[in-house]
């Protein structure tokens, strides 16, 4: 049977049996709409959570926390040498085919505080303790919006100095507190969006400070502040003399430490050497591993464990598993709707085939094969399925737009609130249509086979 004949038969059926077919298509549309809506919602929420809040394409590995004396331990002289991660372990991770890149991190191993922000808040604000880490500039170069480079300022030393007043602002005099220094630009600093969200939603309202989110994101560069290093409320480092360094925010990065500031790796390395000794400069506190394929994250974790390293944060995995479970549950609900639709289609087609026994027998007499009749019924089911699926996809899209609009108006502002909670991509839409077609075909399969088995002689003999 030609495609033209098939189209003719289906077109005629869509007119003469429109009531029954529309009813069947409605079920398919409802099931598809539910499936696409829930999956788009799950994918959208997952994209926000795993892309923005807990990025899953990267993994931070660190030595077991129990072995790390931390800043207080360091201040108290506990432990001979911080555990850290040596270059050999970094090279082994880099050699794995599952790993796209390895970026060592080095935490401040000495106390520090910060003070500044007059340009932003109109008055100086400060912290009693400042957590900071250093990262490889290659990891964050894409996050820099302005013209400031994310490198240790000592790479571009200016004139020799003893006091900052000898340097042209915003440069400051970098060097040991009681020795000669050089004029350099402020140390470039990155902050996380998480920190900004936290500040805006909790700290700023409590202290009557303006939110910095929009300003920081749009004009991340330029905000300067001072870091007091070697001493904090917790105490003073065992070596080195406390002093000021100047810092400047040069960008917002999801690679930055959540709570604290992120500096160039070399800056932290030399400061650690100055205030904690050579061991603290040589061994990394953690490594950020970019995974080539999210599916292979568990293999990378296993490799890390073989090197004595554990994931710092398992929230991404936990969220991923939770989301997958919720999505599977919602998809199951949609699948049940589609199954009910398929049984509805089965009933409709069973009645249709039963009513048309003589017509089918006549077509057989006029030159149709049993296969032609099966094909006819399946083509009709496919048309109903695809049409129902298309309506379902459109309904899902409209529901998503409505939900986003409602969420924008009714939901209070919260950290990482997205513009849309849904992720519709072509594969999801195509998948929705394919499922609709599949379930329609599934429902019509039995009746279609019956159509092919009708005995034409018996059907035509019945008057």
């Amino acid at each position: 049977m030609s495609a033209a004949t098939l189209a003719t038969l289906v077109r005629r059926d869509l007119v003469r049996a429109r009531g029954a077919l529309v009813t069947s298509g409605f079920g398919i549309a409802a099931g598809t709409a539910a499936l696409v809506f829930f999956l788009a919602l799950g994918l959208g929420v997952r994209a926000v959570l795993l892309g923005e809040v807990f990025p899953i394409d990267q993994l931070e590995l660190e030595p077991p926390k129990t072995e790390d004396p931390g800043i207080i331990g360091g201040l108290l002289g506990l432990g001979s040498e911080p555990p850290g991660i040596d270059d050999a372990a970094v090279q082994k991770l880099r050699a794995s085919p599952d790993v796209e890149g390895v970026y060592p991190k080095l935490r401040f191993s000495f106390p520090a505080t910060a003070r500044g922000g007059k340009e932003l808040f109109g008055k100086e604000v400060g912290t009693s303790e400042m957590i900071a880490d250093g990262v490889d500039p290659a990891l964050v170069n894409g996050d820099l919006k302005g013209s400031h480079a994310f490198v240790d300022p000592l790479q571009f030393p200016g004139k020799k100095c003893i006091l900052t007043t000898e340097c042209a602002a915003p440069q400051y005099c970098e060097g040991p507190a009681d020795g000669d220094g050089v004029c350099v630009e402020p140390v470039p600093v990155l902050v996380s969006r998480y920190l900004i969200e936290l500040f805006d939603k909790t700290i700023a309202p409590a202290h009557h400070l303006p939110p910095v989110g929009e300003t920081m994101i749009k004009h991340a560069q330029g905000i300067t502040f001072k870091l007091w290093i070697g001493e904090s409320l917790l105490g003073r480092s065992r070596i080195g003399k406390p002093r000021h360094i100047h810092a400047r925010v040069v960008g917002v990065s999801k690679r930055a430490i959540d709570i604290g500031i992120t500096l160039p790796l070399e800056t932290v390395r030399r400061l650690n050497r100055e205030y904690s000794g050579e061991a603290a400069a040589r061994k990394y506190s953690s490594v950020l591993v970019k995974v080539r394929d999210k599916e292979n994250t568990s293999r990378v974790i296993a490799l890390g464990q073989s090197l004595g390293l554990t994931p710092k944060d398992t929230r991404a995995r936990d969220v991923s598993v939770l989301l997958s479970g919720v999505m599977a549950l919602l998809a199951l609900v949609a699948g049940i709707i589609l199954l009910v639709s398929a049984s509805n289609i089965a009933y409709t087609f069973r009645v249709l085939v039963s009513d048309r026994q003589r017509e089918i027998a006549l077509y057989r007499a006029l030159g149709a094969t049993p296969g032609d009749m099966v094909g006819w019924m399946l083509a009709l089911a496919l048309t109903v399925g695809v049409a129902g699926g298309a309506v379902g996809v459109i309904v899902a899209r409209l529901l998503a737009l409505g939900t986003d609009s409602l969420a924008a108006k009714r939901l209070p502002d919260f950290p990482f609130k997205p513009d849309t909670f849904f992720a519709f991509d072509l594969s999801l839409l195509a998948g929705g249509l394919a499922f609709a077609a599949l379930f329609a075909l599934l429902g019509a399969f039995g009746p279609a086979r019956r159509a092919g088995k009708i005995d034409p002689a018996a059907a035509l003999a019945a008057i």
């Binding site: 049977m1 004949t5 038969l9 077509y363 057989r364 006029l366 030159g367 034409p456 035509l460």
Partner: protein, 237 residues
């Protein structure tokens, strides 16, 4: 039987036996029949004697039987479903007692129904030819101007003429008619018999008509009488 050799015959059936699945009596018990090309054979007999069963087997609509049937020199059992369907679509025409017109199609579209399953390359010129022939057939059968009418708007005689036009559209070599006048009044039945007679005379079409109407049987060149699933007698007219 005719004097033709099987190779010149349109239909050769031998030793046909068929029992119904429910284990009842046999519908056919060793029926053999040869129909030559251009012959008009009437199969007559009382109701339930196996006439319609024989016709369904000869037309390849019923394949569950014992014995052998050759159509146009080809053994029916050796043919695949596709080959058999192609044979029915192109070389055999069927006319039924109940007309079996499709209620959702106009008379013209009913006549054109066989083109839906036409195999091979069908180009626009061939399609146009079929449409023209459908119109001509309706004209010849006295239905000129009724092509747009639906079956429900036609009388019994008109419906059967539409069914005959449908059977003739593909210019078949064999026309199988199952009680074609059975649902018609006497006068209308006479008209239909006249159509068959004329078709046979003008086109030399091979016709096998199952009937219990004497008027239709008298139009045939040979009458085969059946009783209780067996051929009882043959009369050449």
């Amino acid at each position: 039987m005719t004097g033709e050799s099987p190779s010149e015959a349109c239909v050769v059936a031998s030793g046909l036996r068929k029992s119904f699945a429910n284990g009842g009596r046999a519908a056919l018990e060793g029926v053999s029949l040869t129909v030559g090309r251009g012959e008009f054979v009437a199969v007559v007999g009382p109701s339930g004697c196996g006439k319609s069963t024989l016709l369904a087997i000869l037309g390849g609509l019923d394949r569950s039987f014992e014995g052998e049937v050759a159509l146009f020199g080809r053994e029916l059992r050796a043919m695949s479903e596709v080959e058999l369907a192609a044979l029915r679509g192109s070389r055999i025409g069927f006319v039924f007692q109940a007309f079996h017109l499709l209620g959702h199609l106009s008379a013209q579209d009913n006549v054109l129904a066989p083109t839906l399953f036409e195999r091979g390359h069908v180009d626009a010129a061939l399609r146009a030819l079929r449409v023209r022939r459908a119109g001509e057939l309706l004209d010849q059968l006295g239905l000129g101007g009724r092509g747009g009418s639906y079956p429900a708007e036609l009388s019994g005689g008109e419906r059967q003429r539409v069914a005959i036009a449908r059977a003739m559209l593909m210019e078949p070599e064999l026309l199988l008619c199952d009680e074609p006048t059975g649902n018609l009044d006497v006068a209308t039945g006479e008209q239909i018999v006249g159509i068959f007679r004329e078709l046979h005379q003008t086109t030399k079409l091979t016709i096998v008509a199952v009937t219990h109407e004497e008027s239709l049987a008298s139009a045939a060149g040979r009458i085969v009488r059946m009783r209780a699933g067996k051929l009882e007698s043959e009369i050449a007219l």
